[in-house]
Symmetry: C2
Subunit: 515 residues, 2 copies
Amino acid sequence: MDKEPDINRPSRRGSRSRKQARALTTPQIIAGVRRDIPPYILASEEGVDLVEEKAGDILQEIGIEFRGDKDALKLWKTAGADVKGERVRFDKGMLRDIIIATAPKHFVQHARNPDRSIVVGENNLVFAPGYGMPFVRDLDNGRRYGSIADFENIIKLTYASPYLHHSGGTVCEPVDLPANKRHLDMVYAHLRWTDKPFMGSVTTPERAEDSIAMARIAFGEDFVDKNCVIMGNINMNSPLVYDQAMSGSLRAYARANQCPVVVPFVLGGATAPVTMAAAVAQAYAEVLAGCALGQLERPGSPAIFGNFVTSVDLRSGSPTFGTPEPALGSYMAAQLARRIGLPIRCSGGYTSSKVPDAQSMQETVNSLNTAVMCGANFVLHAAGWLEGALTMSYEKLVLDADYLGALHVFVKGLKLDDNAFAMDAFREVGPGNHFFGCQHTLANYETAFYESELSDTQSFENWRDSGSKDSITRANAKWKEMLRTYEAPPIDPAIDENLQAFMAKKKETMPDIWH
Amino acid sequence: MDKEPDINRPSRRGSRSRKQARALTTPQIIAGVRRDIPPYILASEEGVDLVEEKAGDILQEIGIEFRGDKDALKLWKTAGADVKGERVRFDKGMLRDIIIATAPKHFVQHARNPDRSIVVGENNLVFAPGYGMPFVRDLDNGRRYGSIADFENIIKLTYASPYLHHSGGTVCEPVDLPANKRHLDMVYAHLRWTDKPFMGSVTTPERAEDSIAMARIAFGEDFVDKNCVIMGNINMNSPLVYDQAMSGSLRAYARANQCPVVVPFVLGGATAPVTMAAAVAQAYAEVLAGCALGQLERPGSPAIFGNFVTSVDLRSGSPTFGTPEPALGSYMAAQLARRIGLPIRCSGGYTSSKVPDAQSMQETVNSLNTAVMCGANFVLHAAGWLEGALTMSYEKLVLDADYLGALHVFVKGLKLDDNAFAMDAFREVGPGNHFFGCQHTLANYETAFYESELSDTQSFENWRDSGSKDSITRANAKWKEMLRTYEAPPIDPAIDENLQAFMAKKKETMPDIWH
């Protein structure tokens, strides 16, 4: 694809005055972060071979059903797959060859503000907020259905956080709008209230087309044909099924040269076998089919290997999140994705907790750390997720984003230059003294450590005297302050008008459908 | 050292009936866990070389002071170090050579119950609770000074958790006992109310000797001379100083063939330079000196490379915990420890939060995951720690222990055998159906996933209807139940009598000192 932007722009020399000028109106720009540390390697090459082999067995023997999508079946037949009714079986290596031949290893998703364009793939890391929650929750008003006002708030908070690089997609369901029209309002909100990259609708191929059409208004038809400006999160119907909504939406994004994120929905014990090796092999088979279909639709179009593998509490049947078995599965999935050369999406920020409590962060941090350590390129659900994606939490959104800031520092690794080794400091301080005031500390302290805005490090007495505020209470004040100081990024009034006109015209043609 | 016990005893064949018989009176026995996954490799070999080189520069040019410990200085002079006053400088490679020549790569710390003896080193992992807190906290009574009753409670809760393999040391300070006598009561409590391995006193060499003397009463003089039965956590006076209390205690443990855990106290920006590379190099220099001193005192005695590197909030001067920079430092420290062949202690469970809230678990899980991923052998502070080691939390103790259970599963890795790949399940279920009732699920569900006892995975409605209990509330009920059902492990009445007689006699000779 096209030339990579400098994703570490904040530290780029010479851009300081420009940055300072912009800082008056827009939040700090960090357009993704480059990972300078190696990924964690869980499995031997032989282990990865074995999973590839088993995925090949699944594709060859069981195959995948494409339900209600004749165009997809036609593409498969032409490509040489074994098509019987809606069931498609694949010779070993076929899907892999299709992907490797034309799918890009990395690509740029352009943002409305070019400074916020991200690189997806290889050693680049992008964080996006939670996706798909019908409910929202905050400390003041508790749990309730999401509205378009909530949707806009979450987008604004995401815009204000330097550590969320991507505006996400359905950051909550705006349930106060008709189900068949709300995708227009969601895409508009992503184009109007932020200038970060975003995701469009996937619930039907038509809504995918609408999303892409609005992106064309914002970015220009020709630009969109040549560049990725929108993603669609294709949640397939595991096990081993793509229904027409999903394969049709997938093909719509690919056809427009936009990026489908191809995500199996793999709950070990429910939509996949109860053992992780099988769940990962199944997910790999499903991803291969979706990504290859995108390449058949339009060779060279971008695609992301989506990894969503989790477990089920077999007492209750409820899915569980942030648990150890899916962490192991994610490490394997990332090794598979690197082998085939596709950018990988992982999910972090997972929890089944109902509130942003201790459990929520045990599960969230475990899954976020796994995503970062496995080498994920695009981390969806990185902030705000509660209750197995049923609820977007205002407080957890900012708590998670603050933790993502810490991960930004972690992925830059350990500096091992002369300044970092500080021999002069040892000479100056010597045994038994402290380094608080030494020259090396004075020269380095401002940039030495990540400064969390939400972690409380003060003494117990000071903490108590300032009201004994726990994390949730501090986060509540934080998001309110962020919304209070939010300023919308500028937009060309002509584009805004055209977007609104498109929406109005579309809505006129449809009755309101509420479910 | 001697033969390794089977540390994965719970899954050993043939031991089932014995286990079931024991299960009536004692909690599940997991005596450490064997790590079947590789450690995370952060730095290249050249990077590790560089840290070794800089640590060598520090040892050669700046050196280390041994204050008030003439015996230590004598040992260094004999070994060929450059001793000027209390400052000791070391030729490059000297300390490393001393350690590599005689220090064991792994050893057994024997527990009073042989089934609970642990292997320390190589691919073995042991978890111990927090250490050194003057305060305790629980949901009912809030924060208060620790007492011997609290101390015993924490030991009993640790005993009851299968995921804490080690009873720890000063699990809280029993401030209701005189400062100069409470070490006796602490060691007695570890010998009486649990049968897991434990740590003795280090605050003066005499108290170290008392601790070892009590271990001799419990295990027998000859056995103790030949086997490790007690550890001492030697917190040195960074930067680059051992005072007599620490080096004297260290030598006392080594002389008795017991294990000093040699732990620098490295707060970047305070007791070490503000850059992590220098902090790790300093810590490495300090560990080398302590571990080598132990070998000079008694060649072949066990020792642990202690890693405690953290950062400071430079606005407040307070230490911070669970932050990204020390995580990077820990990965480097573990690579150094493996290179020199010493078991490594890391700290997990860190937080500066005052309560077991979201912040506490962000920091705790980040540090626990780091400890596990870096390849730590002995994880101190793995449960209960709050407020930068000022407070032991009853609720956090059980929440952390529950998370340690998840880590037990994680370190066993991803099974890749035929059963795990479940091809028959795919044949049975096929596309679009679920795996809930399939044969493979029925055959595997009981052991498929870690079952947390404290994470809530039920639906929002069920959670709400059962009282909307957050993590802390559930943990509060859990520890109370654990104490209610606690039964003391048996002890030989003659040993108990001798321990009590030893304590009584010791206490008679001392006035009460309270600070």
